[in-house]
């Protein structure tokens, strides 16, 4: 698994060219390519370019419809429901967070629920989108079933990622967590290396917790983060996304293993409109100072969510963005045809 280092602009440009071949309009091709490239730029390689081939495959299968844009279903004061019309998930999500930001500018808080959308790829992008607009952003999505509930022996819950972004001049805080303890992609990497996971990450067929990634992957029994607690939180996030959007729930978005037609929620708080600016920055800094100055175990370091992103971003913008050679050549092939 060798990497090539691609300059950010070139990465965006190549992805855009491919997307144009797949029926995207110029502006949207650029926007979509940028969202993919941002994930890798920020070090979130699991949800960036490496998913691009599958994204193209889903377009070919008709699951993702490049030209489709969201249409408004209903609006009540600060709450809007939109139909994603199975458009590209990252474009739909960016649109929805943008609407939530706009609503929060007017009402202090904005909420957008999105039905019939697709995988948003890196959820953190939309947390960053909110904080770059100076807003507190919260968003979550359901997924296809990929982990059991507590006590259960078959995957029925989604890992339903949750993103919470808090703006800050220096380095914003952006939490981006799926409800499974480990991502399947991560576990595959351990399995390929023949290594155990560092912590228990799923169940064997007897319902016992295990660190063996192969066993977990075979059975599709990833561990909910926090055991019964994450299982409960995952269920409730799916219910909220489904109820607020009127869209599909986790058990309805699994089409023979393929995932489309998701439900998502975007919530935004504008600190200016809510008159929180007098204390927001100072309080935020003090909380993070307290964290960064706390005692650590030998050889450990403490970080806040998102702390490493800016560092990785700078490094990748300077040196080029690492992309798996095999993935990159697969993508470039589309430009030869």
């Amino acid at each position: 698994m060798n990497d090539v280092l691609i300059p950010f602009d070139e990465l965006v440009s190549k992805l855009r060219q491919v997307l144009l071949k797949f029926g995207f309009e110029e502006n949207r091709a650029n926007q979509c390519a940028t969202l993919f490239a941002k994930a890798d730029r920020d070090g979130v390689r699991s949800h960036g370019v490496n998913r691009f081939p599958l994204f193209l495959d889903f377009i070919e299968k008709g699951y993702i419809k490049p030209k489709n844009v969201p249409t408004l279903l209903s609006e009540i004061v600060l709450f809007e429901r939109w139909d994603g019309n199975l458009g590209p998930g990252n474009l739909n999500a960016e649109f929805a967070m943008d609407r939530a930001i706009s609503l929060s500018r007017e009402f202090g808080i904005g909420c957008v629920a999105l039905a019939q959308t697709n995988h948003w790829m890196r959820g953190g992008n939309f947390g960053w989108q909110a904080v770059e607009a100076g807003c507190i952003g919260i968003c979550f999505t359901n997924t296809k079933p990929n982990m059991p509930t507590w006590g259960g022996s078959e995957p029925i819950l989604g890992n339903n990622p949750l993103v919470i972004g808090i703006p800050r001049k220096e380095s914003p805080v952006v939490l981006d967590i799926a409800m499974s303890q480990f991502a399947y992609g991560q576990m595959s990497l351990y399995a390929q290396k023949g290594q155990d996971l560092p912590f228990e990450g799923g169940f064997d067929l007897n319902g016992k917790l295990t660190k063996d990634p192969k066993v977990i992957l075979e059975n599709h029994l990833a561990l909910p983060m926090g055991l019964w607690k994450g299982a409960g939180l995952s269920l409730v996030l799916d219910m909220l996304a489904t109820i607020l959007s009127g869209g599909n729930s986790t058990h309805e978005v699994d089409h023979n293993g393929d995932e489309f037609g998701l439900s998502q929620v975007f919530l935004c708080f504008d600190p200016f409109k809510l008159v929180l600016m007098d204390w927001m920055e100072e309080k935020t800094d003090r909380i993070l100072d307290n964290l960064k100055n706390s005692a650590v175990f030998e050889g450990e370091a403490v970080r806040f969510p998102g702390e490493k992103v800016l560092e990785t971003r700078t490094q990748n913008l300077n040196n080029g963005i690492p992309v798996a050679e095999s993935t990159w050549s697969k993508i470039l092939k589309h430009l030869e045809e």
Copy 2:
């Protein structure tokens, strides 16, 4: 640790009489006593009557001010900030959720942030309050520092409970989870019995995960649920509560081990106003049916959050509510003086 069985009305009545002796006004004594009794009625014994003696102690120390009611700090459309004025935490929280419900009736969504309040005791009460009003309710609170962050060797994060309630005719879904994998109270019970925890619940002094409750209790190193994920979520909940309320953050509410002056957030969605009623019930039922009909490991059962509450409630209302004899006699002593 023998229990006595007390009828619900008697439980409320005795607690009310004690509260009257501690400076509560008639109505508020009744309301506060009811909130304590509801926790035990619903089987949440860790956050009910067993905390009553400490609650009285905090009144005597002046941390909790029985007569103080919340005062409005600011209001912007659907968002209100209130100062809890160090009044009783459960009364303040009930008031705040009630305001959030009212705001959601008008705007579809309502949000109330509460500064300078006190421990809300059983957070689930306020989730039930929302669902009994037909609303989706979300609330969270910060706490004093009681667990380390990921990599850290001293408690600097709160376990910051999060409650999410989703209304339903039959049996509502009410998630009530603290960000620590196990509560300190639970771990004490295991320690008293000389038993290990069923799952890893904290760290030893070398930073290794352990199931030994004594080691965890000595070091105050409870495990964040989901390891680094729950640590991140806990931090972010504290930040949200602090920023939105303008109140204290976790590191500021610890007064030599005593906890007061907390920050909380109450968020409410009115499904009627938001026009979600066409699908809400059916979608919710289908999600829960799917969960309840899923395959389980031998000897296991799957439950949704809050499922057991109504069963326990019925049982306790019929048979009397179990209260530890020692706690009960301690409480009754206040009525002899």
